[in-house]
């Protein structure tokens, strides 16, 4: 059907099947990829476009319905939309950018009706668009400040401590290029055949016959030229790219089907796979039983790994403690629910396989994909696309070996985009946990000891299960001095979804247990809950449960910062029935646990005077593109505006490691600091100027001045160095750590970050519903390199903590969509006040610590503590859905 419409103000026409989703017609037919597809079900709003001015989900709109109508997309050049884009950049409203087009279009429709909306009106207008990164606060602020840009808006200097517009921001407010948004024409569309069962044997029927009938090419494990086993942690690599004879989890891929990329709608029905379903192990307790079937050879009791930390004699000390509390908490699977499902494209460049996809770990992707495909790593090039949210799950391989296989074997370009259901079924989750134990204190309220046993359902494959098992015992004390300690975390295989990395690697689950027990312990000791934490907060010179002596600890300062808010909130809550106030703290070691994790940064000046920063730290929305550049430019002494970013790209950028473990600002930041400083030293040496000289660029001429002394260096006269630059530097940094011994004693992290959050809420006594009123968050980030980005991290982490506490529960086969799996909407986030505490750490760049994961950890326990304060209800199974809160209230009343 020929569809004539007015598209972004100009006449346009396209040929499309009338029932084609309008989102597909725009992206595939017209090449307008600014409209993003997050769910194909109207659940996320990322594809919001304006039809005759009214916001609709393009994924639910038949293309025919655009005929004769006015359609506007994020590609429009419109005054209201452009002003809103600018407001998004000023307010830091775009993090990863995948929801941004939907937010901008819904916001534009609102602003045309109501140029000065209230925050409540903005929240209602944007209630149909989900964001997983920002916690919505910056977005709402931008909508409410979206008039013509202020004239006096002087561009930020971009120095460390200032909040310049993010360097990748302009792309994000234009509809950035994510994994699904760039591909080579004339290739193949790849789909995976996945298991509907959690455990099954399988075999294939007549593959050749099916392929002949459908015109598709079929690939199975038999076609994999390399080692059909991958895994984030090499000694535990156990996951096949395509299953061979049996599958261990629902959603596991057994075959690939490649169709011509000609706009047709591939039909996978009738694919000849014959399943022989087996009884799945669906609980870690069952799987740990001695007679349980074993998922993996060599892993007795389905135990992937157990992590331990032992210090002193916790059992003896607890027996003699004045106060002891005991308890068990349970959490379920939590889905990352980034709005961008996994997507990417592959093609050959000579004999090099190029894979452009969303990822958090390009070099790990390259190495593992090369292993699976039997290629040397140098023949695989990974180009990370813009990443529409990751939160840990995009650390693992997903489609890289799949499209890599198709392109390698056919020599043709290919592309693949996971459906929402496929993404949710097949990728990793937060580990479900059951944590039990005891904590004691003396009569004065000083912690004496702790015992903790955690069982973590690590699902079908290893993924990051070992990291969770190692991190949890190291962190389960919380940021408190705990002289006697025994903690064990066991990761048990089941036929559930593979549990992997998710913002905090198990530490949020442990904090839920420890921080809720702390409230009961404070009560027993007769101490105010904040003061109890303050009394026990780790201080400089004290040792952690791993025996590491700390310096520059910031937890007591965070609690100090909350104290006036705490007093106010307690007084207010005392006057109103149903009101509660809760508090919880966090600490989190930045970087890999007692393992090397170096980053390398390259910086160069071209003969034409361009400053190029090879920045390999994947920016998944958190802001490393901007923060790393700020650090490098400050160390070098040239303005941020001079910086041009290169990468990430495994052929162009040195390895800056994975975006995980809250390590990029710290570890890659240190490498950027060193690279910037090395280039500066080289410049000053050549110009024979002192360290205090001020640098500037005047075209191709580098100028250094100090007092009345000025020196010039014409870069165009310099020969290219080995890296192709007139001048360049490349530096690495690897955080100094000490391995953990058999008792978990050692110095696993070079630095830690600290924080504490306070939640004010109201509980409806009859319905058990929670209304969050305010969250106040104090985080010691050492030095805020970019305060606006830091604030965005805090607000976004809190939003995920709210979801963990109150609504998120992934059930395989039941909640594989974004309407049964609930994440917070604009209306679920209260006002958040961020208090940035800066206790500089000498190890961090300009004193900075990591922040990204810390911010999620205290939120859920602080909410549970506030619910208990409001009602007496102790909710020990998460999420705290209304019926669980109501039941806990009824137990408390008895």
């Amino acid at each position: 059907m020929k569809i004539d419409l007015t598209l972004n103000g100009a006449p346009a026409s396209l040929n499309a099947a009338p029932g084609l989703r309008l989102s597909e017609a725009l992206r595939e037919g017209l090449g307008l990829t600014g409209t993003k597809i997050g769910c194909d079900a109207g659940d996320c709003g990322a594809c919001t476009v304006l039809l005759d001015g009214a916001p609709v989900c393009a994924c639910l709109t038949p293309a025919a319905r655009a005929h004769g109508r006015r359609l506007e997309t994020v590609e429009a050049d419109d005054a209201t939309l452009n002003h809103l884009r600018d407001a998004f950049l000023r307010h830091g409203a775009a993090q990863c950018g995948i929801c941004t087009p939907g937010m901008l279009m819904a916001g534009t429709a609102l602003l045309r009706d109501n140029p000065a909306p209230s925050p409540d009106q903005a929240r209602a207008a944007l209630g149909g668009v989900l964001c997983r990164c920002t916690g919505y606060a910056r977005i709402i602020a931008a909508i409410c400040d979206a008039g013509p840009p202020p004239l006096e808006d002087a561009p930020s200097s971009g120095t460390v401590g200032s909040s310049p517009r993010r360097l990748d921001g302009a792309a994000k407010v234009a509809g950035d290029s994510f994994g699904a948004d760039l591909w080579q024409q004339g290739g193949l569309i790849v789909r995976a055949i996945r298991s509907p069962h959690a455990s099954a044997r399988f075999h294939f029927g007549d593959l050749a016959g099916w392929a002949a009938k459908t015109g598709a090419q079929v690939f199975t494990a038999a076609d994999i030229p390399g080692r059909n086993r991958f895994g984030a942690i090499p000694p535990f690599a156990d996951q096949p790219a395509l299953a061979e004879t049996h599958i261990r989890q629902r959603g596991e891929a057994v075959a690939l089907v490649a169709f011509e990329d000609d706009g047709s709608d591939p039909d996978l029905s009738g694919f000849p796979v014959i399943w022989d379903p087996l009884t799945p192990l669906t609980s870690a307790l069952d799987a740990a039983a001695p007679d349980a079937p074993r998922l993996h050879e060599g892993r007795a009791g389905n135990l992937l790994i157990a992590g331990h930390v032992r210090r002193g004699d916790a059992a003896a000390v607890l027996a003699a403690s004045a106060h002891v509390v005991e308890g068990t908490t349970r959490t379920g699977f939590v889905e990352h629910a980034y709005i961008e499902p996994e997507a990417g494209a592959a093609w050959m460049e000579g004999d090099c396989l190029v894979i452009r996809a969303c990822t958090q770990a390009p070099v790990m992707d390259r190495d593992d994909t090369a292993l699976v495909l039997g290629l040397p790593p140098g023949r695989v090039r990974i180009i990370p696309s813009a990443v529409g949210g990751g939160f840990g799950s995009k650390l693992d391989l997903s489609l890289q070996p799949l499209i890599g296989l198709v392109t390698l074997l056919t020599g043709r370009p290919s592309r693949m985009t996971y459906s929402r259901a496929e993404s949710m079924a097949s990728t990793t989750k937060r580990h479900p946990s059951q944590i039990s134990g005891r904590i004691g204190c003396d009569a004065q309220g000083r912690i004496t000891g702790m015992e903790m046993d955690g069982i973590f359902d690590t699902g079908a494959y290893a993924s990051w299960g070992p990291t969770v098992a190692n991190r949890v015992p190291v962190h389960a004390s919380g940021p408190y001095c705990t002289p006697h300690y025994r903690a064990e975390a066991r990761a048990i295989h089941t036929n559930n979804p593979t549990a992997g990395a998710f913002r905090g690697f198990g530490v949020p689950q442990a904090a839920i247990w420890q921080e809720t027990l702390y409230d009961r312990l404070a009560e027993q000791a007769g101490l105010d809950r904040l003061e109890f934490r303050h009394l026990n907060a780790l201080r400089d010179g004290q040792t952690t449960v791993t025996g590491q002596t700390l310096h520059s600890t910031g937890i007591s300062q965070c609690l100090d910062a909350l104290r006036p808010h705490w007093s106010r909130a307690l007084a207010e809550a005392a006057a109103i029935p149903g009101r509660g106030v809760g508090i919880a703290s966090c600490w989190y070691g930045c970087g890999n646990t007692a393992l090397p994790n170096p980053s390398t940064i390259r910086i160069g000046l071209t003969g034409a005077g361009a400053l190029m920063l090879h920045q390999g730290a994947t920016d998944i929305g958190q802001g490393s593109n901007t923060v790393i550049a700020q650090i490098a430019s400050k160390a070098l002494g040239l303005p941020l505006s001079a910086v041009t970013l290169i990468g990430p790209d495994t052929h162009l950028t040195p390895d800056a490691g994975k975006t995980s473990a809250s390590r990029q600002t710290f570890v890659t930041g240190r490498a950027a600091l060193a690279a910037g400083a090395a280039l500066r030293a080289e410049i000053l040496r050549r110009l024979n100027m002192g360290d205090a000289a001020r640098l500037s660029l005047d075209g191709a001429t580098l100028v250094a001045s100090e007092g009345r002394q000025t020196a010039r260096l014409d870069l165009s006269t310099l020969p290219a160095d080995a890296r192709g630059y007139a001048l360049s530097a490349e530096e690495s940094y690897d955080p100094p750590t000490l391995p953990l011994d058999e008792n978990g004693q050692g110095s696993p992290y070079a630095l830690y970050g600290y924080g504490a959050q306070m939640v004010e809420l109201a509980v409806d006594p009859a319905l058990g519903t929670v209304r969050l009123l305010k969250i106040t968050a104090a985080h010691d980030l050492g030095r805020a390199i970019n305060p606006l980005l830091a604030q965005g991290q805090i607000e976004g982490g809190i939003a995920q903590g709210i979801g963990l506490a109150l609504m998120e529960d992934y059930i395989p086969g039941r909640t594989e969509n974004l309407h049964d799996y609930l994440i917070p909407t604009t209306g679920d986030i209260p006002p958040i006040e961020s208090l940035l505490i800066e206790v500089p750490d000498p190890e961090g760049p300009f004193g900075a610590r990591g922040l990204g994961e810390h911010v999620l950890i205290p939120t859920a326990p602080a909410i549970l503590n506030a619910i208990r304060h409001a009602t007496g209800a102790e909710v020990t199974t998460l999420p705290a859905l209304p019926h669980r809160i109501r039941a806990a209230m009824q137990r408390a009343e008895k």
């Binding site: 009338p18 029932g19 038949p62 429709a109 209630g127 149909g128 604009t826 039941a887």
Partner: protein, 281 residues
């Protein structure tokens, strides 16, 4: 390739549907999520272009709502206070994007036990109008909805309109929806209440609960208990046991059955209390 029919008249639509296998398409907000395909599969008939299917008209017999009237059109219309519950429900269906596309008739034909439109229409004694090649028939909404995802519509019939009798346009109504998040939420429970008040007493009460039984339902026993009661005493007359007796809620991922019926009773009390509040001078 999709077969996508866009008839210009109801007669043409019925002729096309007579061949069988035709899926009527209104807003698309339920049909598209049900497929993983790029385009709607099967033989689809777009009803949104049919005359008389969009818009609200009033006459001596009552109010007629075209089946393809969108939630946004309902929310923005000027309607009697008896339809306040329907208008309140309209702004809680999905987000604005869904309200701009989704239709009241589509909501009924999709027949989810948690359909937001049903309780407010039940308290309005709504009848649905079905048109087939055998003619036009009307059914009470409660008879139209025969089970979860099941209706009395024959495969060759179209739902063309909803009729609200003049007798049900009196009084005021209120809607409440309970879910685990603020927007885009499928109800744990929802209620609609319509009350006529005369001289401080309830002269007529209509109460309905959704998401707590296979299809949303009225609560005749509770309605009788309220009829004739002084407004100030009305909320207390809604007893948990009476509400529970009328419902058959499920235990599922969103809530337990026991919680659901208790919550439904509480929501009813609150909506009745809202409607019974003295009007501020």
């Amino acid at each position: 390739m999709t077969d996508f029919l866009r008839p210009a008249t109801v007669e043409d639509a019925l002729a096309l549907m007579a061949a069988g296998g035709v899926v009527p398409l209104a807003g698309g907000t339920d049909l598209y999520p049900a497929t993983q395909r790029r385009a709607l599969p099967g033989l689809v008939l777009d009803v949104t272009g049919l005359p008389g299917l969009c818009g609200i008209t009033t006459g001596p017999a009552g109010l007629r709502i075209g089946a393809a009237t969108t939630w946004t059109a309902l929310a923005r219309a000027t309607l009697p206070p008896a339809l306040a519950a329907l208008q309140q429900a309209a702004v809680e269906v999905g987000g604005i994007q869904i309200q701009n596309a989704g239709t009241i008739g589509g909501n009924l034909c999709n027949a989810s036990p948690a359909a937001d439109g049903v309780p407010p229409l039940l308290v309005l004694d709504t009848e649905v109008e079905l048109v087939g090649h055998r003619g036009i028939r009307r059914l009470p909404l409660s008879q139209f909805l025969t089970g979860p995802r099941q209706t009395a519509r024959q495969a060759d019939e179209l739902l063309t309109a909803l009729h609200i009798p003049a007798s049900a346009l009196s009084g005021q109504s209120h809607f409440r929806k309970l879910g685990a998040r603020a927007y885009l939420v499928i109800s744990i429970a929802m209620v609609a209440v319509r009350l006529d008040l005369q001289a401080g007493r309830i002269s007529h009460a209509a109460l309905a609960v959704g998401a707590c039984s296979a299809t949303a339902c009225r609560l005749p026993q509770v309605e009788s208990a309220l009829t004739g009661a002084p407004a100030a005493e009305a909320p207390a007359l809604i007893r948990d046991a009476d509400v529970a007796a009328a419902l058959s809620p499920l235990d599922d991922l969103r809530a337990t059955a026991a919680y659901r019926s208790g919550a439904a009773a509480e929501l009813l009390r609150r909506s009745v209390a809202t409607l019974c509040q003295p009007v501020p001078a």
